[in-house]
Amino acid sequence: MRTLDLDLPLDASPLSRFMLWVTGTLVGLAVLAFALASLAQGRIVEEARRPRVVTVALPPAPPGEAEGLVGRVTAMLEREPGAAYAAPVSKAEIDGLVEPLLAGAGAGDNAGAGAGAADRFPLPRLIDVAFNPGTAPDLGALERRVQRLVPGSTIGDAGPLGSDDGRLVRLLRALGLATGSVFVLLALVAVVMVTRMSLRQHHETVDLLRLMGARDGYVARQFEHHALLGAFKGGLIGFAAAMLVVVGVVHGPAMLGDPPVVPVRLRPLDWVLLSMVPVVTALLVTLTARLAAVLTLRRT
């Protein structure tokens, strides 16, 4: 009963409502940011489990020699440590890759149909090599070894995620963690401000309590209780709102049978961690309110 029946009329003040909205909004935003980080992390973990595929390109060669070269290089690549398999990319596939690039010329080519681009142009020959997940092949050394067999060869590496994609996902993870933390921090800053404003606003009551012999801790405890309640309520609201957004964006399309907007789902562990955000924030807010109150009171 003592904890709900505060001596200070904190509940009635508009600051209190302000507090509720601020913690609600900031917790919501923090949860969204951390959800982004979780999704990115999920994608990174998933990619790390896939075999890593690099493509070796041999320079164009006369049709007769080409097959032999490709066979020799493929055999060498299969003996590489960590390599799961090595397979030449078929002519049809190369045609498929190159065709659209020459589309402008395609219209007038209808007459001589049937002959693929790979036949007509001296295109490079490609070999895909897959490495087992977890191995980190030294692509520089590999390239040099291939070039000893066939000068002019190159290795194209898309990286674990396709190099650009991978950087983006890692960036998103960092961004999510950073902005999430900033939002939590902002909530704490707001709590300090609100607590100090409250103390100023209720200074007559605070003075009266002290005049009756109340210690700083007695007064601070009221702000603590009040902040806990507000942060908890606001945090729950913010969390619920954020989760609705996340579910809507991530899982919504799948429910409607549409293609997913983002190609990853939240894992059960993510849900647990995300639901910790409002709880941890509420605790931090409570602690912050008490600290701010005690420190401000000590100065007067």
Binding site: D7, P9, E204, L211, M212, G213, A214
Partner: protein, 211 residues
């Protein structure tokens, strides 16, 4: 003593109140009665000179001890200073709770006090629903419920009818009999006439008569 940025309101006051005594404090409007009581209640830090209460120099005690000293002082404020969002009951219970009393003691002392003052009917009402006289009685109940060693009562009978005023004086005299020191400021000419306790008279911030 001076208030923030204002002129000095009390000058050259030297005063020793005997423990367990009863004083009337009188003087015209703005003489400094409330200001003097404020000094005695240890709630105003801006003064020159020395204030000793319960034998301790206020300037030298720490935060912790100041709190303890204050718990032994009961104050009836001229402007009541009830907490608007608390019921009459909770207002009276406040100093007990601050002093760490358990719920049992609160439940025993508070209703008894309020009943004795004739406030049974309004125990759960917040101050804004009380008449001015009722508010003053609640404020008095709050000041005496802890049986303080020093009672500072600023115009405690200004808003009550003559019968109630007599009843309150009876209460104060009883407390005094139990060892409480009392300083009671009043504009009334009746009270000092009927209760022959020593008087202190302030005029324009100076003590002009002390007994």
């Amino acid at each position: 003593m001076r208030y923030d940025g204002a002129a000095e309101v009390l000058h050259d006051i030297t005063l020793t109140l005997k423990s367990g005594s009863f004083y009337f404090l009188t003087g015209p409007v703005g003489a400094g009665k409330t200001s003097l009581l404020r000094l005695l209640s240890l709630s105003h830090p801006a003064y020159r000179g020395t204030i000793r209460v319960f034998g301790r120099d206020f300037a030298l005690v720490g935060r912790e001890e100041a709190a303890r000293l204050r718990q032994r002082i009961g104050v009836v404020f001229q402007d009541f200073r009830l907490l608007e969002h608390l019921s009459a009951f909770d207002n009276v219970a406040l100093p007990l709770r601050i002093a760490g009393a358990d719920d049992e003691r609160v439940a025993a002392s508070v209703p008894e006090m309020l009943r004795w003052l004739g406030l049974d009917a309004v125990m759960e009402a917040p101050p804004r629903q009380l008449s001015m006289g009722e508010r003053q009685l609640v404020c008095i109940a709050r000041a005496v419920v802890t049986r303080p060693a020093l009672l500072l009562a600023d115009e405690p009978t200004s808003n009550v009818d003559p019968e109630r005023a007599e009843r309150l004086m009876h209460l104060f005299v009883q407390l005094h009999g139990l060892g409480t020191s009392v300083v009671l400021s009043t504009h009334s000419q009746d009270l000092p006439r009927r209760h022959p306790f020593p008087g202190l008279r302030l005029e324009a911030g100076r003590l002009v008569a002390a007994a």
